[in-house]
Symmetry: C2
Subunit: 127 residues, 2 copies
């Protein structure tokens, strides 16, 4: 797969794909005889994984570390597991914050609804 295809497939700019590779967020992609990136299925899996994690707000730093550990082989399995558990913990904390905010927003919106209703009543009242 070319970078153009992958870019469309995952809705990530070509620049972002090259950037991710440059900083080690995805393993190095193979080039064909003329030096052009040729993404494998495996590469796509990585991109999908990284995109999913980034969408949820995981820091690039942590993901780079994960990819690095992965490339060092089986000896790092425990470390990778721990890393994911830590990221999950942080993710859950953020989700809880967001849940609180959502409730706050719901409340505020309900209050505004009420105010709007009151105003409408007032408009209909004969003076």
């Amino acid at each position: 797969m070319t970078i153009t295809e992958v870019s469309k497939k995952f809705d990530l700019s070509q620049d972002t794909l090259r950037y991710y590779e440059r900083i080690g967020l995805i393993p190095r992609v193979n080039r064909n005889k003329s030096g052009i990136r040729d993404y494998t299925e495996e590469d796509c899996k990585w991109i999908e994984f990284i995109k999913c994690m980034r969408n949820a707000g995981l820091q690039i730093e942590a993901l780079i570390e994960y990819v690095g550990l992965f490339q060092q082989g089986d000896a790092t399995i425990e470390a990778r597991k721990e890393l994911l558990i830590e990221q999950r913990k942080q993710l859950i904390a953020r989700m809880e914050d967001m849940q609180k905010t959502l409730e706050h927003l719901n409340y505020k919106i309900a209050v505004y609804e009420q105010v709007v209703v009151e105003k409408e009543k007032e408009l209909k009242r004969p003076d």
Copy 2:
């Protein structure tokens, strides 16, 4: 309340508090006779609200708009409600993304658990 007290109360740096005021993310805080900020209860409510919204990832831009509408009075009630509804929509979308990522993480961690267990079994096996 002084900026030091407010800073401690909400765990926001003094710089951040001044920055928020400068860009209109909170209404202007009154100064005492010697020009020093004196935060009211109302100011604190704003800071709490803004902090909650920022924690959940709402953009400063949107919150500035909200504060601006608020300061224009009752005529903007409908607009404020719409703004909050839009922000809530975006918040829910982000939470859904995060939920997906959480499930993905749970799955991956479970796989690693399994691998670790297998490895341990192997170690205990007599060669």
